[in-house]
Symmetry: C2
Subunit: 182 residues, 2 copies
DNA sequence: TCAGAGGCTGACCGATCGGTCAGATCGGTG
DNA sequence: CACCGATCTGACCGATCGGTCAGCCTCTGA
């Protein structure tokens, strides 16, 4: 079946996205994905080297954007502008890639071990640092981490909210909640 | 070994808490726990009916307190006081049980299926409702969910911060960030 | 017509999981 | 001494996981 169409690659990717979002990465087996596509597990592994490669391809666009945000933050001359760029950039990324981020929901700790996310840990530390206004105060860092984790953890759950409305709500929240620089 | 001491039960519980915190519930095998205790996997299953029973016993105190918070919120006469009770009660709970909550980090979605957490979903919905000031506005609900999830996800990571300092920081954050009632 | 490449399958593999079970080892009791 | 119940062990079980492999089918182009 589906002999003329070599679109299976894309079908697998889409099916994997749905399953990962529903039951998580670890909670989804290659057989689950294969069943959803309607092919064999071996077919899935014909199109992708291994399970991780599926996740890598799904997350690649979001990772790229996150890395460019990291660069932009690093280029800011002072803590105040870094905080603003970090906040706006992160909200933008969270809204744009909320579907992808939702895939990771509840699996951050272990999933960060995967090569795809090799630098995520350092990047998120710099993000928190920037959002905390480069402050060393515990309250500022707690505040930044709670908001960042909260947004990452939940942004995928507002499927019925439009991009604009979600972005506005999150930006307003960050503006209220983040401690001002100095 | 350890023939005279029937404290193995407690040892297993403590070892499980450490392992769950380090690698998550699913990421910890019964053999991992047994190795940390220094006994066989069968010994672990002699003291606990199954893996889930270990988690249940670890989480029981926190669950009890959460349920009583739920009752207290339901007893509030108006949205404003419900919001305040929810915010203060949740922060208190998060700080007191940050160790237990940390065990669940990154495993919420699937772990909530377990019988121990049978009513957690409804309770957390009522918590969010109260923290959103009983409002139906998307921005209020987004705000409440982001903060609640963020606190739950991160409170276990501030081991070096004292209870008082953490509670003050989180309460201040909630007061700034939650949308006021009406 | 036929070789070959791309796409795919079913059978299989080793590892690991949670959990079971028969039995060994002990301290205490009669 | 014999017996008992609590504690614990090693061997084992079935299920499931990610991944491999030999080979089949179909389409294509020389």
């Amino acid at each position: 079946m589906a002999r003329p169409t070599p679109q299976t690659h894309g079908d697998i990717l889409a099916a994997a996205a749905r399953r990962f979002a529903a039951t998580g990465y670890r909670g989804t087996s290659l057989q689950d994905i294969a069943s959803e596509v309607g092919c064999s597990k071996a077919a899935v592994l014909y199109h992708f080297a291994n399970k991780e490669a599926i996740l890598t391809e799904l997350m690649a666009p979001a990772i790229t954007v996150l890395q460019s945000l990291d660069d932009r933050i690093a280029a800011q001359p002072d803590p105040a502008s870094a905080q603003q760029v970090a906040a706006e950039g992160f909200v933008d990324l969270a809204v744009r890639f909320r579907r992808e981020i939702a895939l990771l929901r509840g699996e951050f700790p272990e999933l960060l071990q995967q090569p795809v996310f090799a630098h995520i840990h350092e990047i998120s530390e710099r993000l928190i640092d920037a959002m905390a206004g480069r402050s060393e105060r515990a309250s500022a860092r707690i505040c930044a981490l709670v908001l960042l984790a909260g947004i990452a953890e939940t942004c995928g759950q507002f499927a019925e909210v439009s991009d604009e409305e979600l972005r506005d709500a999150l930006l307003a929240l960050l503006r209220r909640a983040l401690e001002p620089v100095h």
